[in-house]
């Protein structure tokens, strides 16, 4: 049985649905995450991220479908699941009048650790999250970044196999974000599965192996960031700067086939060329100069993940279907 569980996916969600008095928060979603992966869970506010994560953390229950952690059903075996997950909610979840050390000690006690084992676990977690020097500081006096490290430490106290982190980087300054990313990469290298949500794509792109996009309670993409960009293959985004009136550029794109105006910038615009061939891109530049557009800068831009995501959403609206790659 235990062998079976070790071979099981870290997270396995099948046809999961959850609704609250008329509101369908999660609609029939399915996905699988293998052990050791870092998976980003992306979606707008209200897309169903937190609901899904709360179900996985045994804090809510599905109306339909199943969710398993390391082979254990979250409904049938909540205790087994709780031993295997570390849950970090999108809010701090800390106490007043309590030091960092006492906070971690409380959760170690509450999770059943005693004696030397408890002291060792607390020390290990403080070392990992670099909180040892702050151990006597009251939690109220911690910065947001330190507080988030403390919450991560709390989630790690019982050395879980799977970490479910709901918006851990929200509100953090750049330095704290970098530190958090670093910690998550270390955890991944230790073989832990990390399921992490955010609505900021760039943040997840750097630390996640795969991305899972959710929109209005439905999974619309599951794959790597590269696979998401592939859906835009055959197109080139070009940033063009011009001397003079940038509006001229918009008028020019309307008159030229194969070129589309994407968005205005301060000095020009970003345009979309329906080809990735260098010759054809060069021909566009030639045509601009020939038509008296005073081009001061013309360079190819890498496709942004946000653009790819928005395009998927646009396609979905048009087709009414979900993409799972």
């Amino acid at each position: 049985m235990s062998e079976l569980k070790t071979k099981a996916p870290a997270i396995e969600v099948t046809n999961l649905s959850r609704w609250f008095s008329g509101v369908h928060a999660v609609r029939d979603i399915s996905f699988t995450i293998t052990p050791g992966q870092v998976v980003g869970f992306v979606g707008a506010n209200g897309a169903g991220k937190t609901t899904t994560m709360r179900i996985l953390a045994t804090l809510d229950y599905p109306n339909r479908g199943t969710a398993k952690i390391c082979g254990y059903d979250v409904v049938g075996y909540p205790s087994e699941v709780r031993h295997r997950i570390g849950w970090m909610p999108d809010h701090f979840g800390t106490y007043k009048n309590m030091t960092v050390l006492e906070y971690l000690d409380f959760f170690a006690r509450a999770l059943g650790y005693s004696g030397d084992e408890r002291v060792e676990r607390v020390q290990e977690v403080m070392d990992f999250t670099d909180l040892t020097t702050l151990c006597d500081r009251l939690i109220d006096q911690l910065s947001k970044g330190m507080g988030q490290r403390l919450c991560l430490g709390r989630a790690l106290i019982h050395d879980p196999d799977v970490l479910i982190l709901d918006e851990p980087a929200a509100g953090l300054d750049p330095k704290a974000r970098v530190e958090l990313k670093h910690l998550i990469r270390i955890l991944a290298s230790e073989g832990k599965t990390v399921f992490i949500s955010s609505h900021i794509l760039s943040e997840l792109e750097e630390m996640c192996d795969t991305l899972l996009f959710i929109n209005q309670g439905q999974i619309i993409h599951h794959g790597s960031s590269e696979s998401l960009r592939e859906s835009k293959e055959g197109q080139t985004v070009i940033a063009v700067s011009v001397a003079g009136d940038p509006e001229k550029l918009e008028e020019w794109t309307e008159l030229n086939p194969g070129v589309r105006f994407k968005e205005a910038t301060k000095t020009g615009a970003r345009i979309l060329v329906d080809s990735a061939e260098p010759d054809e891109v060069a021909a566009i530049l030639k045509r601009m100069i020939k038509d008296d557009i005073a081009v001061t800068d013309f360079h190819r831009e890498e496709v942004k993940l946000e653009d790819a995501f928005i395009e998927i959403l646009g396609n979905l609206e048009a087709e009414g279907t979900a993409i799972v790659s």
Partner: protein, 482 residues
């Protein structure tokens, strides 16, 4: 970290590992709060002040009043109030989810919070002890009497903090205030009664000793009951706290009735009736959600399914529980009153009328809820509506009692106030003649309708419950069953 420095985790030895995690956490936090520190310092200052006045004044009674006032205020007001947000703060701080993922269940969380509060009260009491001893040496003080008084005050403080901690399980501030005011009022009556009874000395006769034991037992049950209320409010639907609450109420009530054999019948009836009244109020104000694990436990055979109709959480089973305990308690009181063994056949006897009046008083708001606020039955506000109606009825009763005493004409007011069984109770307790056909019919009719109406209105829910007990797997799951 340099090797010569001790690891910070060495500091974690301040509390033994075997202590409840919740107790340790609450003590660490509680001892740092300004309220505890200020209360401790002020109490010490007042004690020194009282002692100085005692040394200068020839009459010890002057300082005694001061002394007890400060102790009373600290133990019965300051300390219990600190528990007012004990459980609700876990929701406010968004830590309840985190606690549910640990091995702590709702009962351990609630008990830990209450124990920590009382451990701090104990620290305050220990701080007072030297002054008690010094007062003895200054003279005019019965040391044993003072110690028993302090112990009883400590018990009252424990009960008061159980009330506040239990009430803090309600997330609604209004509900918490309603519960606190209602129970605080009841506790004050109880303390006034105890103080009036034992004004001169605590243990003067075997009956006094029996009364004190009964009071201690009732207070311990009260602590359990209020903490259970708090625990049941924060527990997931899959935990059945009603079973334990309802069953212990019957056991505690029966234990109180045993004190009839020690010559304190009246006290025994009051305490056993009050215990069942509290348990019934909690039972018939409970929300309905039924979880699969709860239904599964009662689905084994016909007997367990019958028990389920009385012990499964929800107001629909609560009304059946109320009916059952009302009948058994009334019969038991009749049996004990009727020379122990011969059930009294005269229904118009004062004890009979009063016992039925108690049932009617507890049940009367249910008639109004069923008639005017049926939608509130399904919500947490059911309890608030009940308490509000009961408070209105209590105010009306007070006015009528006042008029009764002023005009010294009981019967006319009783007939005017037939819908108020509490008037009959007050009348009976004040020595008025409440025997007779009309009094009995009045209270019996109200008691009958207060049970019959909700019983009738809950028939759909009971049908669904029976179905759920026959096939619990058809119910939606609740995950919080660890």
């Amino acid at each position: 970290m340099p090797d010569d420095q001790p690891a910070p985790t060495k500091e974690l030895a301040d509390f033994p590992g075997k202590l409840s995690p919740m107790l340790v956490k609450e003590l660490r936090q509680g001892l740092r709060t300004n309220m505890f520190v200020i209360a401790f310092i002020l109490l010490q200052m007042f004690m020194v002040f009282c002692l100085m006045i005692g040394a200068l004044s020839p009459s010890a009674n002057d300082t005694g009043a001061f002394f007890w006032f400060f102790v009373f205020f600290t133990l019965l007001v300051v300390q219990p109030i600190r528990g007012f947000a004990a459980l609700s703060s876990e929701y406010q701080l968004n830590t309840m989810d985190l606690l549910q993922l640990t091995r702590l269940d709702a009962w351990r969380i609630t008990l830990g919070k209450w124990t920590a509060l009382n451990a701090q009260t104990l620290l305050l009491v220990i701080g007072i002890l030297p002054y008690l001893v010094m007062r003895y040496f200054l003279g005019g003080v019965n040391f044993v009497n003072d110690m028993v008084g302090l112990a009883m005050l400590g018990l009252a403080s424990a009960l008061a903090s159980a009330i506040t901690v239990g009430a803090s399980g309600y997330r609604s501030l209004i509900l918490r205030i309603v519960l606190l005011v209602g129970c605080g009022f009841g506790l004050m009556i109880f303390i006034t009664f105890v103080m009036a009874k034992f004004r001169r000395q605590w243990i003067g006769s075997p009956e006094d000793l029996a009364t004190i034991v009964l009071i201690i037992l009732a207070a311990i049950y009260g602590i359990f009951f209020f903490l259970s209320i708090g625990a049941s409010r924060i527990a997931p639907a899959a935990e059945n706290h009603s079973f334990r609450k309802r069953l212990w109420a019957i056991i505690a009530s029966a234990a109180c009735l045993l004190f009839c054999f020690f010559g304190i019948e009246e006290m025994a009836y009051i305490f056993s009736g009050s215990i069942l009244a509290l348990a019934s109020i909690d039972a018939f104000c409970e929300p309905l959600p039924l979880a699969k694990p709860v239904a599964r436990k009662f689905s084994k055979n016909t007997f367990t399914r019958l028990c389920g109709l009385v012990l499964i959480p929800g107001w629909h089973t609560g009304i059946r529980y109320f009916f059952l305990v009302s009948v058994v308690w009334t019969v038991a009181v009749q049996w004990l009153e009727g020379d122990l063994g011969r059930i009294r056949t005269d229904p118009f006897h004062a004890e009979t009328v009063m016992s039925v009046a108690l049932v009617a008083m507890v049940g009367l708001p249910l008639i109004l809820i069923q008639l005017f606020f049926p939608k509130r039955r399904e919500t947490e506000m059911h309890f608030a509506v009940y308490m509000f109606i009961q408070a209105c009825l209590a105010i009306m009763t007070m006015f009528i009692s006042f008029a009764m005493e002023v005009t010294r004409n009981f019967n006319e007011y009783v007939y005017l106030a037939v819908p108020l069984p509490s008037v009959i109770l007050i009348g009976g307790a004040s020595g008025h003649d409440i025997r007779g056909f009309y009094s009995f019919v009045a209270v019996f009719t109200i008691a009958f309708f207060s049970i019959a109406l909700p019983w009738w209105k809950s028939r759909d829910q009971i049908r669904e419950l029976k179905q759920a007990m026959r096939n619990p797997e058809a119910l939606p799951e609740d995950t919080m069953t660890a």
